[in-house]
């Protein structure tokens, strides 16, 4: 608190400048700035991310912090708009002395922050954003992503759809009208054309982000009766869409593919019927078939539920990966540095090739700073244990299988997809079990 206040005073008076700790000297604390949505519609991810971060940092500090240095998170509101975010980001680095930044949730923010991080020479962990272009079109020395990207998500979704419903003939898409909605569809479409060139795309709808009403879209889809309806929407938009579609019988007419539905499952409760294809931007799921009974998972789910009253959703797992990845990178860099406090450059170097355990699997950071993360998809099923739908007929796609190789561009890689990928031997499958 005292630090916070002095920072604010410094801000107001401009009298003080906290210099970043010199390399090798262990700082009194490691300030980690976290850009997350605290306002606006995306706070459905931002606030759970923050809640999880509070838990993980508390845990980390209870175990002695990173290399014996306590970690202190500082939050920045992504909802304030990109320009404001950029100046807040700078302030946290230059004024509050953050050596590490977590930025951010929105791909737009990540794109905007990556060059700023280069300029400021600060370790930038892209903890949640998905755009695959960031490391495919740019080279960022100081930025690293501790999770998979949109390409991996869409590839796994496509493979799962091809496997569970191989003979569909028509598809319609209803995505939010912004970069993610557009990009994810472009990727999916490229892959679909390669695997199933005769599929007819009957409607491409991009309702406004945050639209309160999808009646017209639903009427159109009801009339067109596509075999498959894909929507990569999330948050309130997805909830609204599924609710309105369910009420009007559309969910019974078409097979819905909702790659981000994991984060809406608990809220949608009884609305979500069986037979919907769902995913969660990676292998994150509190009922992960391989890890749901691990001690770490059990303790996290309990703590998180005690704090927030709801089950954890994917951003909390992404936050876990960012925090764990950071701690492991520091340990690796520290070890390489003879136990001394590493420089930021050493930490970044340590990220390359780093492998660490997450709550649901293993993350590997590639040489291009992109994380490899497994992808879990399933089909909804209603069970008596939970008042909401759970995953059944799950398939776990290894990150390496579904992530665009280093040096290739996702869109081109998708266009080359081969059908044998659908039944690759490395894909594990599971059914729901208590």
């Amino acid at each position: 608190m005292a630090i916070k206040r002095s920072a604010a005073v410094a801000f107001a008076l401009g009298a003080l400048m906290a210099l970043p700790a010199l390399a090798q000297d262990k700082p009194k604390e490691l300030v980690v700035g976290i850009a997350t949505f605290l306002s606006g519609p995306a706070s459905v991810f931002g606030v759970p991310g923050k809640n999880a971060a509070d838990l993980f940092f508390e845990e980390l500090n209870a175990k002695g912090g990173i290399l014996g240095v306590p970690v202190k998170p500082v939050y920045v509101d992504e909802g304030a708009g990109t320009n404001q975010l950029i100046s807040e980001y700078r302030r946290v680095v230059q004024d509050q002395g953050a050596q590490v930044m977590f930025g951010a949730i929105s791909s737009g923010s990540c794109n905007a922050l990556a060059p700023v991080a280069e300029d400021l020479k600060v370790v930038n962990v892209m903890w949640d954003c998905g755009t695959q272009t960031i490391f495919e079109e740019g080279k960022w020395k100081y930025s690293v992503r501790t999770q998979g990207h949109a390409g991996a998500e869409m590839m796994a979704t496509l493979l799962y759809l091809m496997k569970t419903k191989p003979d569909f003939k028509t598809i319609a898409v209803v995505n939010q009208d912004y970069a993610w909605g557009r990009e994810s569809w472009a990727l999916f479409q490229a892959g679909l054309k390669a695997l199933k060139p005769d599929v007819k795309i009957v409607a491409e709808l991009f309702p406004k982000f945050g639209a309160p009403d999808f009646s017209t879209e639903i009427t159109r889809l009801s009339a067109l009766r596509p075999d498959v309806v894909l929507s990569t929407s999330w948050g309130g938009d997805l909830d609204t869409f599924v609710q309105q579609a369910a009420a009007r019988g559309l969910l019974k007419q078409s097979t819905f593919v909702l790659p981000l539905a994991e984060s809406s499952m608990e809220r949608l409760g009884a609305v979500m019927p069986e037979g919907v294809i769902v995913g969660g931007r990676g292998d994150h799921y509190f009922l992960h078939p391989k890890h749901k009974n691990s001690a770490e998972m059990q303790s996290f789910v309990k703590k998180y539920r005690d704090k927030t009253n709801v089950y954890p959703i994917y951003p909390t797992f992404h936050m876990n990966q960012a925090v764990t990845g950071l701690a492991k990178a520091y340990e690796k860099a520290g070890a390489a540095n003879g136990g001394k406090w590493p420089t930021k450059e050493q930490v970044i170097a340590a990220f390359e090739g780093l492998e660490f355990k997450s709550l649901t699997g293993t993350i590997t950071i590639r040489s291009d700073h992109q994380g490899l993360e497994d992808q879990l998809l399933g089909t909804t099923k209603r069970v008596p244990e939970y008042p909401f739908a759970v995953y059944d007929k799950m398939a776990l796609y290894p990150g390496k299988l579904v992530t665009t190789p280093v040096g290739e561009k996702s869109l081109e890689w998708f266009a080359k997809t081969k059908l044998d990928l659908v039944n690759d031997k490395s894909i594990e499958t599971f059914d729901y079990s208590k």
Partner: protein, 322 residues
């Protein structure tokens, strides 16, 4: 009079010294100056009793011009980008102004809002051209032919912006004292009388609208350069509302007001971001209420001393010197 020069000079000296004492603040100060420029444009229109809830249009337009030009090979120079983008915004203001000067009061504000929202929606919708809601990155251009490191670039951009802001403020002050500026006040107090005198109030307002568009455009061009990224949010109505907020916060009594307001706005927002990252909107809202109810002539009025407390219809003092 002397007091007003003092305020301006004190503000200027503080601004000149600040970045040297506290280098991390240059960008925030530059952003404040840009918002101050846009708010100065609002002030010009407020003199005529007109309030625009759509100046984000000009702000965003020039910012996007910068973004597009900077990405192209021929526009990689600050000294080229800023004047061209500002002129482009001026052109838009000249076009919009043609019909908008026919409107007054709430309709003036509404139409400005509507046009800026059309532009905002286009920026979001035309994903393949504008990058949609994620916006566009602005690569750092050269400055007078030199390729600069971030810190040096920001340092110089600040002083260039400061010089531009001072020039703009002095220019606006002169304008407000000129017959055109005086006529502007007549639009607010008694437009019919103005017309009787043979002055076309539309022409007068057109001039003011053009000027305010240019000022907002200048601010937008620079903000695109220093933040290195443009998003449609620059044209959103809340942003336009902030400009009016800043103008009132600073006080419309003198041209230093908007800059005082912009600085205060950044300071409060920064302070709120540290202490209440989840409720910084509310902090700003409360601040705005406090100013409106307890210091209706704004910060400028507070410092310059309130002169006309009794006249409820004219909360805006009429002194025009900086």
């Amino acid at each position: 009079m002397a007091r007003q020069y003092l305020i301006g000079a004190a503000l200027l000296i503080a601004l000149i010294v600040f970045p040297v004492v506290s280098p991390w603040s240059t960008v925030i100060l530059t952003v404040a100056l840009c918002e101050g420029l846009a708010a100065l444009g609002i002030l010009v229109l407020l003199r005529a009793g007109q309030v625009s809830f759509g100046h984000g249009l000009f702000f965003a337009f020039s910012a996007y011009v910068v973004a597009f030009m900077a990405a192209a090979s021929f526009g990689h120079e600050v000294l080229l980008l800023v004047p061209i983008a500002t002129a482009a915004s001026g052109l838009v203001a000249a076009l919009v102004g043609l019909f908008i000067v026919r409107y007054r009061a709430i309709f003036f504000g509404m139409l400005n809002l509507a046009i800026s929202m059309v532009f905002f929606s286009l920026l979001e919708k035309l994903f393949s051209v504008t990058g949609g809601a994620d916006g566009k990155r602005v690569p750092r251009p050269t400055l007078a032919g030199m390729t600069l490191e971030r810190e040096t670039f920001e340092f110089w951009m600040f002083y260039i912006t400061l010089a531009l802001a001072v020039t703009a403020a002095l220019g606006v002050a002169r304008y407000l004292l000129s017959p055109g500026g005086k006529a502007l006040e007549a639009i607010k107090s008694n437009e019919t009388r103005l017309e009787y005198l043979g002055v076309s109030s539309r022409k007068v307002l057109y001039g003011a609208y053009l000027l305010s568009g240019l000022l907002a455009g200048l601010g937008g061009a620079i903000i695109a350069l220093v933040s290195g990224h443009v998003t449609p949010e620059l044209a959103y109505w809340v942003r336009s509302g902030e400009f009016v907020f800043i103008a009132i916060l600073g006080g419309v009594g003198g041209v230093a007001g908007p800059f005082l307001g912009a600085l205060m706005f950044q300071i409060i927002r920064g302070y709120a971001a540290v202490h209440a990252p989840e409720t910084w909107h509310a902090v700003l809202g409360v601040m705005l209420l406090v100013i409106i109810f307890f210091a209706p002539s704004g910060l400028y009025g507070l410092i310059a001393g309130r002169k006309r407390k009794s006249a409820p219809k004219e909360t805006a003092p009429k002194e025009t010197a900086p």
